[in-house]
């Protein structure tokens, strides 16, 4: 693989689940790539399919009722359909994942040091002493004070922020080329969130890892991401470089998201430009554009025709002509458009 080839290339990834209500299509064919050392922010609300996309990349969807199709190529190797053993050589070693709740990745009955050590030993043959030294070094690298004491602590003795750091230390133990993070700061207080985001930014600089960061918080994306993917109803609706998406978002849903967030500075709007309605049920997606029932700009075609991603480096899936959308977006600073119908 050449040095500048993308680290991860996902093509037409779809995830469906058989259920009593018929087929539930959680991810409806998404394509994207992650460059080496790139931080990609995936934004979406609950049910948008963002977590399922991550789980599919990790090969963690193993329900007998799940159907995963498409292609996920990591460093040139296809991950879909890969045998468990071959997958295990990649997972944890080259791709690591962290979750919203650090306790889901920690067992309460072992010390932090043991758990980081287990991770190291699973992928490398090293002496017990070297394992311990490495664990201390990792805890230090993620900004834990007194790492040689914390290493002998149990998870319950640590605060939420410390636990998330410990989990990140575990994830970093084998220098993964790709770190996949699902809402890693959502359960944390803002001051702790700021610390963890700073840490994630440092990971790329120090360890050279690429990061896929899934979050519902556009502020978090603005803080750390290089590129942004916006998901709705199991598909991407917008993709682009951070500055381009934040300066001139191209999809009405992205406008709605920006309008929904109360500003932290300047005058307060009398009302927030909220998006009316609720996100669609994945078992009963609307025909055509999934966002159309909530969209202030929909026209007849939106109800029948599925929009596809269009554009060069900054792309969006919307049937409105792009010049029209650019015009709408320019009407208000930040591209925020009132969504009241």
């Amino acid at each position: 693989m050449s040095a500048d080839a993308p680290l991860l290339v996902v093509k037409d990834l779809a995830v469906s689940f058989r259920s009593d209500e018929g087929l539930v299509r959680a991810v409806g064919g998404v394509s994207f790539s992650v460059e080496q050392r790139e931080i990609v922010g995936v934004v979406g609300e609950s049910g948008s399919g963002k977590s399922q996309t991550l789980l599919a990349i990790m090969g963690l969807i193993d329900s007998p009722n799940a159907i995963v199709s498409g292609s996920i190529r990591f460093m040139g190797q296809e991950l879909i359909g890969l045998k468990r053993r071959a997958l295990d050589a990649i997972r944890g070693r080259q791709i690591a994942m962290i979750f919203q709740d650090p306790m889901s990745a920690l067992t309460p009955v072992h010390t932090i040091g043991n758990q980081i050590g287990e991770q190291v030993r699973a992928h490398e043959k090293v002496s017990a002493k070297a394992v311990r030294a490495r664990a201390v070094q990792l805890l230090d690298a993620v900004g834990i004070a007194n790492p040689d004491r914390v290493i002998d602590s149990y998870p319950h003795q640590l605060s939420g922020g410390m636990r998330q750091r410990a989990v990140i230390a575990m994830a970093l133990s084998c220098n993964p080329a790709l770190l996949v993070a699902d809402e890693p700061t959502t359960a944390l207080d803002v001051t702790v969130q700021a610390q963890i985001l700073e840490l994630i930014g440092r990971l790329r600089d120090q360890f050279g890892s690429a990061v896929i960061l899934v979050t519902h918080d556009l502020g978090v994306v603005a803080e750390v991401a290089d590129r942004v993917l916006v998901m709705y109803g199991g598909r991407f609706v917008e993709e682009g470089g951070k500055s381009s998406v934040f300066r001139a978002p191209l999809h009405p849903y992205t406008w709605g998201l920006f309008g929904s967030i109360p500003p932290m500075e300047g005058p307060r709007p009398a009302r927030l430009a909220a998006i009316p309605g609720i996100p669609p049920s994945l078992s009963n997606l609307p025909k055509g554009c999934a966002f159309s029932p909530r969209c202030a700009f929909r026209h007849d075609a939106c109800l029948v025709q599925l929009p596809i991603m269009q554009g060069e480096s900054h792309r969006a899936a919307c049937l409105l002509p792009e010049p029209t959308r650019r015009q709408f977006a320019a009407q208000r600073p930040g591209g925020v458009v009132e969504m009241q119908r």
Partner: protein, 330 residues
């Protein structure tokens, strides 16, 4: 702030404290006390929305529950329209319950899953008013319409609704008896961003329409900024700063407020990051709070006096109060 000499506060808390003992040892020396709310004094004025912000464990939820006497207070005074209610019995409180209502973070936990929404919403009328069945049905329908649900929803069960709709039901129930004061504890933090905005707008509309007074408790600073006329910032059980929303957010005087404010990720790339204040370390345990100023262990401006002497919440003019030995320039 708007000094209102002729008005009296709707609710006034004086040195309100809530202590919990932890550890069930039979030896008193091994029992410990957590000061969840530590001598908080607050006036809530009619028509205002007081936002209470702070991180988890700062005591903001406990304070909210104490204010409506859902949680027994350990010491201090509480007055509703000048009447002392700190010792009032549950029976004596009953007529007051009409005036003070609460909205919770998780509406599903406060809605009985086995009862229809119409019955849940009719409860307040059954308890507090004598109405005929048809009057009751009318009032329920009106309530549902007011929170942008449909009267037909009355025959459904809570699980048939989305999170945002359930919160609307929670709000409708709080609204049923036309209270003067609603204490909302993290009412939007479990909701998606787009739904959050709808509920914030709804709360603002209702405030206007029914002349409501809110205590709005949340950890999300931008939501609090949007809806509150005044804010109080809590740290380890105490208020460290309070004042008119715009002023406190634009120019915080307490270093904790400043840190909290600068930690909020802003969804914009145009604003260059002003040197961010990243706090070191974690929140100290409320069981074993630091001496002196509770914040001194993480404060960039701490000096020896902060370790030994606890600063009092003092007025610095224009309705602003701050508890700090070395307030920031703002």
């Amino acid at each position: 702030m708007n000094a209102r000499p002729r008005e009296r506060p709707l609710l006034r808390a004086g040195d309100l404290s809530k202590r919990y003992s932890v550890g069930r040892s039979i030896f008193p020396a091994q029992r410990r006390t957590v000061h969840a709310v530590d001598t908080v004094s607050l006036d809530i004025w009619p028509g205002e929305t007081l936002g209470i912000v702070g991180e988890s464990g700062c005591g903001k939820s406990t304070l909210g529950r104490c204010l409506v006497r859902l949680t027994e207070i350990s010491s201090g005074s509480l007055e509703f329209e000048g009447r002392d209610i700190s010792d009032a019995s549950q029976r004596q409180l009953r007529p007051l319950r009409r005036q003070m209502q609460m909205v919770f973070q998780d509406p599903s936990a406060s809605l009985n899953p086995r009862r229809r929404v119409g019955d849940l919403l009719a409860d307040p009328f059954r308890i507090h008013e004598r109405l005929s069945a048809s009057e009751m049905a009318d009032r329920v329908a009106e309530l549902l319409r007011r929170v942008d649900l449909s009267p037909q929803h009355a025959s459904r069960y809570p699980h048939e609704f989305s999170g945002g709709q359930r919160q609307r039901i929670g709000i409708a129930r709080a609204l049923a008896l036309r209270p003067r004061l609603i204490v909302a504890d993290e009412p939007v933090s479990a909701l998606d961003v787009s739904i959050q905005a709808q509920i914030v707008n709804l709360l603002a509309d209702l405030r206007e329409e029914y002349n409501l007074t809110y205590v709005f408790i949340a950890h999300d600073l931008s939501v609090v900024r949007q809806i509150s006329s005044r804010v109080a910032v809590m740290y380890l059980g105490s208020i460290v700063e309070s004042g008119p929303t715009d002023e406190v957010f634009a120019a915080p005087r307490h270093h904790y407020t400043a840190a909290l404010r600068s930690a909020v990720p802003i969804p914009s790339i145009d604003r260059a990051r002003r040197g961010r204040l990243v706090l070191k370390g974690d929140l100290p345990s409320p069981m074993n709070p630091p001496s002196g100023c509770r914040f001194h262990t993480r404060c960039p401006a701490a000096t020896p006096i902060c370790r030994s002497e606890r600063p009092l919440l003092q007025s610095i003019g224009e309705g602003r109060l701050v508890a700090c030995h070395h307030p920031a320039d703002g």
